[in-house]
Amino acid sequence: VSSGGRTPRDELAESTAVGDVYLRRLVRAQLTLSLLAVVAFGALLGALPLALILLPGLDDMLVLGLPAALWIVGAPMFVLLVALGFLYRRRADALDDAFRDLVRGPES
C-alpha cells in the first residue's frame, strides 16, 4: 500500500510512527464506544436513585400488587443490561473487523 511495499501490518509489527497511529486510532474508537455505553447506562442507573427520591409517588403506585419503585429497580434494569451488552458487542466486533480489513489491505 505505502511506498517500498511496507504493509500496514509491518508498520504495526515494527511499531513505527505510522503503525502507532493505526493502533491509537483503533484503541480510541473502542474506548469511545465503551464510554458511550457507560454514559448511556450510567445516565439511567445514576438517574434512578434521584428519580425515586424526586418522585415519591412511585412508592405508592401499585403495579400487580407491588409498588412501582420495586418493579423499576427489581426487573427491567436487568433486561436493559443485556440489551446494552448485546448492542455493544456487535459494534465492538464490527470495529475489530474494520481494523482487520484495513491492516490486511485490499488483497485479502
Binding site: V38, P49, A69
Partner: protein, 562 residues
Amino acid sequence: VIAVAAVTAVVLGTVGLGAWGVRLARTTSDVFVASRAVSPWWNAAAISGEYLSAASFLGIAGLEMKLGAGALWLPLGFTAGYLALLLFVAAPLRRFGSYTIPDFAEARLESPFMRLVAAAVVLVIAGFYLVPQLKGAGLTLGVVTGSPYWVGVVVVGLIVALIVALGGMRGITYVQAYQYWVKTFAICVPACVLLLHLGGLPERAALFGKELPRAPAAGLSVQLDGATDVEFPAATSYRLDGVVRRARAGEEITLKGRLELPPRATVPVADGTDALRGEDWSAPVSGDTTATPLYVYSLLLATVLGTMGLPHILVRFYTNPDGPAARRTTVRVLGLLGLFYLFPVVYGLLGRALVPELYITGTTDEVVLRLPEVAWPGLGGEILAAIVAAGAFAAFMSTASGLLVSLGGTISYDIWPRLRHGPGGSRTRRFRVAAALAMVPPMLLALVAHDIDISLLVGWAFALAASTFCPLLLLGIWWAGLTARGAAAGLVVGTVVSSGAIFTSLLAGGGELLQQPAVVSVPLAFLTMWLVSRATASRAPDPSAHMLALHAPEGLGFDAAR
C-alpha cells in the same frame, strides 16, 4: 431427611462431575485454562455459577428482609459489574494472554516486583472472600441437619480442596456450569411455588403500608438460647419462660429463654436492625442510613467496579478461545445473572410477612432456608426447603472452588517460582499442592469467625477489589502511560484507604462513607496511579508492543501466544 438427601445429591453430583473433570485434566493447559476451549454458553454458566455465592443466595434475601428495598441495589450492581467487564476488560485481557492478574501486571508493566505486589492483593481478596463461603456452609448444614457449625465448614472445605486440586480449571468449569443451574432452579422454583400456594403476598400493610412486622394470628414463640438485646418498637405484653411482662414503646431489653408474643403483637427487633414501617421498608431510596442516595451511589460503585477486580472471575476469561468469544460469554453472563437475581427479593418480601422471628434473633441471613417450611407446613414445604438447602450448598461450593483455583494459581504460578529455596516440581503438581494448602488458613479463620457478619466480609472484598485491581486493569489496558511505580503506589493507596475505612467503622462505628468507602477510595487510587505514573514516565519502557497485544484483533498474527 429430604433436605439431607438433596444436599447429598448436589455434593455427589459435584464430586462426580469433578471426577469426570479429573480424567479430562491431562495437560498443564487443561489444569490452568481449560485448554482455552470452553464455549461461550458453558463458560457463561460457569462464570455465573462461580459468582453467585453465599452472599447472593442467602445474603441478598436476608439483607432485603433486614434493610428493605434499599438492598435491591446490590444485585443490580453485582450484575452491572459484568457490563463494565464487557466494555473495558473482557476482550483485551483475553488477547493479552496472561493467566493471572499478577501475570498481567508483570507483563504489561515489565516489572517482576509488580507481580508480587499484585499477588499479595490477590491472596488478601480471595482468602477473605473464602471465609464467608465456608461460614455459610457451616450455618446451612446446621440449619438443615442440626450438626455443629464446624462440620459444614470442614466438609465443604475438604470436598472443594479435593476437586480443585485434582481437576484444575477444566474439571471446575463443568462443575460450576452445573452449579449455576442448580442454584437458579433452587431459588426460582420454591419462590414461584410459594407465591402460588399463598395466592400472592400476605401482610400487605407490613410490606408496603404504615405497619411494622407483627406476630401471626396464632401468636409467636421463639427460643433465644443466648442473651439477645432487642428493642420493642411498640408497647406490648410478652411472656419470657412463662412469666408475663410488659414492654413500653422504644424500650430496649436483654432477653434469654423462651419468648412468647400474643397474636398480632408488633415483634421486637434485634440490636443492629432498624424497625422500619412498611412504607420506609419498601422504598429503594430513603433517608435511612443504608438507603441514602450517597450510600446507594457508593455501593453501586463498589459492586460494579469490585466485580471487575475479583481475581477468581478474571481467571475465567482466559478460558475463552479468543477476544470476541470473551465478549460473547460476558453478554450471556449478564442474562444468566439477571435471571437469577429476579428471585431473592421474593424471599425478602415473604420473610418479612411470615418469618418475623428472624427480626428478633437477628438472623435474617437464614430467611431463604427457613421460609419454605413456615410458609407451607407439611411435605410441600419440606421438599421446597430441601431444594433451597441444596442450592445454598451449590453456592458455597462453586464460589469456594473458584476462589481456590485463583489462590492455587497465584501461589503456584506467581509466588512459588520466585522463592529462592522453594521445592521444585512440575507446574501442575505445584498447583495441586498450593490449592490444597491454600484451603487451610481460610478454614481456620472460618472456624474462628463464627460471629462476623457474612455481608461485612463480602463488602470488604468488593471495596478492596474496586480500589485496587479495577484501576490497575482500566489504566493498564487503556492508558499507555501507566508505569510500574504508579501502579504500585495506587494499589497501596487503594488497599490502605478502603480497608482502613472499613476497619474503623467495624471498631468505632461510623457513617455511610466509612462503611462503604468506594466512592472515595476508588478515585483516590486512580488519581495516585495517574499522578505517580506522570512523575515517573521517563523511566518507563515503551508500552506500544503491549498495547498492540491487548487491542489488535485476532487473525493478524499479533495474538500473544503464551
